[in-house]
């Protein structure tokens, strides 16, 4: 971690202190963009979402408590909601109106960098879409582990279930995914990682 890392207990003040916000942004912006690129394939939309997520973070930060999870997990939680909002809006063909419109801030270089990241996450997005075939609570667990690379313990903690329960659900989801994924090589690549994950924590 870099020199800009901020203490978990300071996160509650990022909505009031610009320097803390600065440090928080630098620490999490890269991961957040990757998180979004695993789900969204349009650079403009990713840019909008980055802005929306940070805006939501600064306005709710005062309620953040380190005891409830790491700042990264908290931010990803916000991001997950924003992605879901965006999908609902898209379904209703509404455009987002936000105080800061991320896409307006994209210049050519930033755009290219965003596209590279999105391209790199192509396979993961395919997986993310395949997760649609799972029941909601299993999907979220699988998403955290297979898409976001959380450990089972971390994912279980975020969802408020026991790690043992999480393992059982993951096994079940794996079987379902194998059925639903058209591309066997995609399943293999996901599954290799999963197997290691499940074995390690068993």
């Amino acid at each position: 971690m870099g020199v800009n890392q901020i203490d978990d207990s300071d996160v509650a003040r990022i909505g009031r202190d610009p320097d803390l916000l600065d440090a928080f942004y630098r620490e999490h912006a890269g991961d957040l963009r990757l998180f979004l690129a695993r789900r969204v394939d349009d650079p403009h939309e990713v840019a909008d979402l980055v802005a929306e997520v940070f805006l939501a973070a600064i306005s709710t930060a005062h309620r953040y408590k380190p005891s409830q999870g790491s700042p990264g997990a908290w931010l990803f939680g916000i991001a997950r909601n924003k992605v879901a909002d965006a999908q609902r809006r898209k379904a209703r063909r509404l455009r987002a109106e936000s105080r800061i419109v991320g896409r307006r801030l994209l210049d050519e270089d930033s755009m290219a960098r965003m596209e590279e990241r999105i391209e790199a996450q192509r396979l993961t997005r395919a997986l993310y879409q395949a997760l649609e075939s799972l029941p909601a609570r299993d999907r979220l667990l699988m998403e955290l582990v297979a898409v976001d690379g959380l450990t089972i313990t971390e994912a279980a903690e975020q969802l408020g279930v026991k790690p043992g329960t999480a393992r059982v659900r993951l096994h079940r989801s794996r079987a379902r995914l194998r059925e639903h994924l058209g591309d066997p090589s995609l399943f293999e690549s996901i599954d290799a990682g999963l197997e290691v994950c499940i074995a390690q924590e068993a």
Binding site: M1, G2, N4, Q5, I14, G15, R16, D17, P18, L21, D22, Y25, R26, E27, H28, A29, G30, D31, L34, A47, V50, A51, E52, F54, L55, A56, I58, S59, T60, S70, P71, G72, A73, F76, R89, L94, R95, A96, E97, S98, R99, I100, V101, G102, R104, L105, L106, D107, D109, S110, R113, M114, L144, D148, G149, L150, T151, E154
Partner: protein
């Protein structure tokens, strides 16, 4: 989960971070729920100036609106609640402004037996996810944040470099300012204030529009943006 990968900031990051920083230095009371403006995309389709507002039915202030003329000659209309449209029309007439005010959308959705009457304008919400939008601002008669189509009209609509009005969503009200030089204070003009959107979903917009000599003036897009983008 978080790898803590710190990459060098690119121009996008720098621009966004600058705006976020300015956001957190603003007083919290000026912030508005993000959701408050989500109607914008829809509302932008039709009027000179539209600002999305959340609408709440409780704790209404005593007066639904106020009209004042400042020492500089500007007229300020402050709308606290979407009620007594006719009263506002009358009061504006006493200031020499012909106006059409209609809160039809709000009235339709008003809960039966709501003694307070009208709908409270409160972009602050009730401690919800909150916070990203400070003001929605729009103006007609001058280009703001993008498109402004103007009917060809021999200058009847006024000097393009001076807005005929500006509209701002404040912390709990909606403020329309009509500058002294605005055609709305001089020419044969009409100001129109109407509600748009679906108030029953506690989300609506106010649309402000004007005509001069019977000619429709200014079609501005919704102007809700960050500082520096306007």
């Amino acid at each position: 989960m978080s790898t803590g990968t710190q990459e060098p900031l690119d121009n996008f990051d720098i621009a966004l971070l600058a705006q976020l920083r300015s956001e957190v230095t603003k007083e919290p009371a000026r912030r508005v729920r993000r959701g408050a403006l989500s109607l914008g995309g829809v509302a932008a389709a039709s009027a000179a100036a539209i600002v999305g507002v959340t609408v709440f039915g409780s704790s209404a202030p005593a007066a639904a609106y106020a009209v004042d003329r400042g020492t500089n000659g500007d007229i300020t209309i402050t709308i606290h609640r979407l009620s007594d449209a006719a009263g506002l029309e009358k009061q504006l007439a006493s200031y020499g402004i012909k106006a059409h005010v209609s809160y039809q959308a709000a009235r339709e959705s008003q809960a039966p037996g709501d003694a307070a009457g009208g709908v409270d304008l409160s972009p602050m919400g009730q401690g919800d996810v909150g916070g990203s939008v400070i003001t929605g601002q729009a103006s007609a008669g001058s280009a703001s944040n993008g498109s402004l189509d103007r009917n060809a009209g021999g200058g009847a609509c006024g000097d393009p470099s001076h807005p005929a009005f500006t509209a701002n969503l404040g912390s709990n009200d909606y403020v329309i300012t009509i500058p002294k030089a605005s055609p709305l204070q001089h020419a044969d003009s009409e100001l129109s204030i109407t509600t748009t959107g679906d108030v029953s979903k506690t989300l609506a917009g106010l649309s402000v529009d004007y005509t001069v000599d019977g000619q429709h003036c200014g079609m501005g897009s919704l102007s809700v943006g960050a500082p520096g983008l306007r």
